[in-house]
């Protein structure tokens, strides 16, 4: 069969795209490889050798130092205390608001929706000083509260936008059928619409978790004492007084990026299409 087919003309596109993607992948991975290489070298080896050389022997002392450091434990705990509530709050509010905008529009709801989405266009630098003064005024500086509140609020536009647009793809007939069966709006949301929106929820959870976990700016502004710092600032704090502890910082960078990777791996199974297939029509 195959050998009777006429020779297809050579198509250069797949090969070109593949090459470009490989180059990009290498470019993106190189810094990580660099950090990985530093993290398994001794400080002496780092200061002597080049960045890209392979270590003479596998040195795990940096990781031991990072994992055994009580300050690092506190950084991790603080970051979790910020990331989990802020992610949960922004997604919950996004789902609730998105449901109203998608399924229960009222007079002026589109303008309100645009207003919320427009919140995305404020650069953090613009709101940074007012927010600092606000939280300073109410005495919340050097606690985790401002970080949680600001991240919840900043996550709202994207969460509302995503959830509204996803809910809009859930057929109205499903809501009406559920209502005919006796469901309240809350039951329509929790028992019909949200289970069908798992892909959107998974995307948002991954995005929000990663973004809040990796954030450097807000905890830097709102916290001061070392036991209130989050992990990304902790990495900087680990530098020594007279020298930079490249190896230790490299090790912590890798450890600190593990949770986001785990979250992605956990949620990616929900990134599936066609959840509403079979709902309507034949």
């Amino acid at each position: 069969m195959a050998d009777t087919l006429p020779a297809t003309r050579f198509n250069p596109w797949p090969a070109t795209i593949f090459t470009i993607l490989c180059v990009l992948a290498v470019l993106f991975l190189l810094p990580t490889v660099g950090v990985l290489l530093s993290s398994i070298k001794t400080t002496r080896e780092i200061s002597m050798g080049e960045l890209w050389s392979l270590p003479a022997s596998l040195y795990l002392g940096n990781f031991a130092e990072v994992l055994g450091n009580p300050a690092v434990h506190q950084y991790f705990l603080n970051t979790l205390l910020v990331t989990l509530p802020a992610t949960a709050v922004s997604i919950t509010l996004g789902a609730l608001a998105g449901y109203v905008f998608a399924k229960l529009p009222f007079r002026g709801s589109n303008v309100l929706f645009l207003g919320i989405v427009a919140g995305m266009f404020f650069p953090p630098q613009v709101i940074l000083v007012p927010l600092f003064r606000l939280f300073n005024g109410i005495g919340l500086i050097d606690t985790l509260w401002p970080v949680i509140i600001v991240h919840s609020a900043l996550g709202l536009p994207i969460c509302v936008l995503m959830m509204r647009n996803f809910f809009a793809t859930v057929p109205n007939a499903l809501r009406e059928a559920a209502i005919m069966e006796g469901a309240s709006e809350w039951q329509v949301l929790t028992r019909v619409v949200l289970p069908l929106s798992l892909p959107a929820l998974a995307v948002l959870a991954t995005l929000q978790f990663t973004w809040i976990w990796n954030d450097f700016l807000w905890p830097l502004i709102f916290t001061q004492s070392d036991d209130k710092r989050t992990i990304m600032i902790g990495i900087v704090n680990l530098k020594g007084q007279y020298s930079v502890a490249w190896g230790v910082q490299g090790a912590l960078s890798l450890v600190a990026s593990l949770p986001t990777l785990l979250v992605f791996l956990f949620f990616q199974r929900f990134f599936i299409k066609g959840m509403t297939m079979g709902a309507v029509k034949g």
């Binding site: 499903l174 009406e176 059928a177 069908l196 066609g274 297939m277 079979g278 709902a279 029509k281 034949g282």
Partner: protein, 255 residues
Amino acid sequence: MAQLQLSDLRKSFGPVEVIKGLDLDIADGEFVVFVGPSGCGKSTTLRMIAGLEDATSGTIRLDSHDVTRTRPADRGIAMVFQSYALFPHMTVADNIGFGLQLRKQDRAMISKRVAEVAETLQLTPLLARYPRELSGGQRQRVAIGRAIIRNPRVFLFDEPLSNLDAALRVQMRLEIARLHQRLGATMVYVTHDQVEAMTLADRIVVFNEGRIEQVGSPMELYEHPANRFVAGFIGAPSMNFLPVRVTGVQIESPA
């Protein structure tokens, strides 16, 4: 089992009045079919009976109780949608039992009722499947199963067969007729398919531009249309209209 009464029912969307005052009595156990051209208000009327649309004015009475402002779930009405509207993330059994689950009924009771309903609709082997794994006719039967499990007083059908192919449509039409015979429930059925209307209905209601043109049994409408619209709408091939001149007791065709 219930009788349904619409009095001076009106519906406006903004400044546009789409239902211009309907009066209709539907007897207990009657099978009434709404027909009419697209946009004539038959689906809107059905949705008002269901409670999915609010009536602008007028009343809807069920067994002489005013239900015009009652929540859909409390009216004791079930509806079968044109698009079936099955919940894609639930199995056939969960789809059929959804209404009972919402009422926090006993699990064992729900599965018993689901099994009974599935039996009558020949869905028993499909109970564990998801809607995407069903054919169009099977999905339609699940939608009907979801409607009948709560023993509603009135069934509403919104063009339930228009997504099925011709052969299946005939078969499902027969099943709906049998269902009506067995349950003896009041049914209101919207269609634009005249054959469905003529074969299923005890009485047909012909809609045009938000008004009722005529109400009557299929043969009454066919033999004695009340006006030219009904005459032209009922019957396939449709009636011929010729311009004529009346001369005394005779008429004369100019052609």
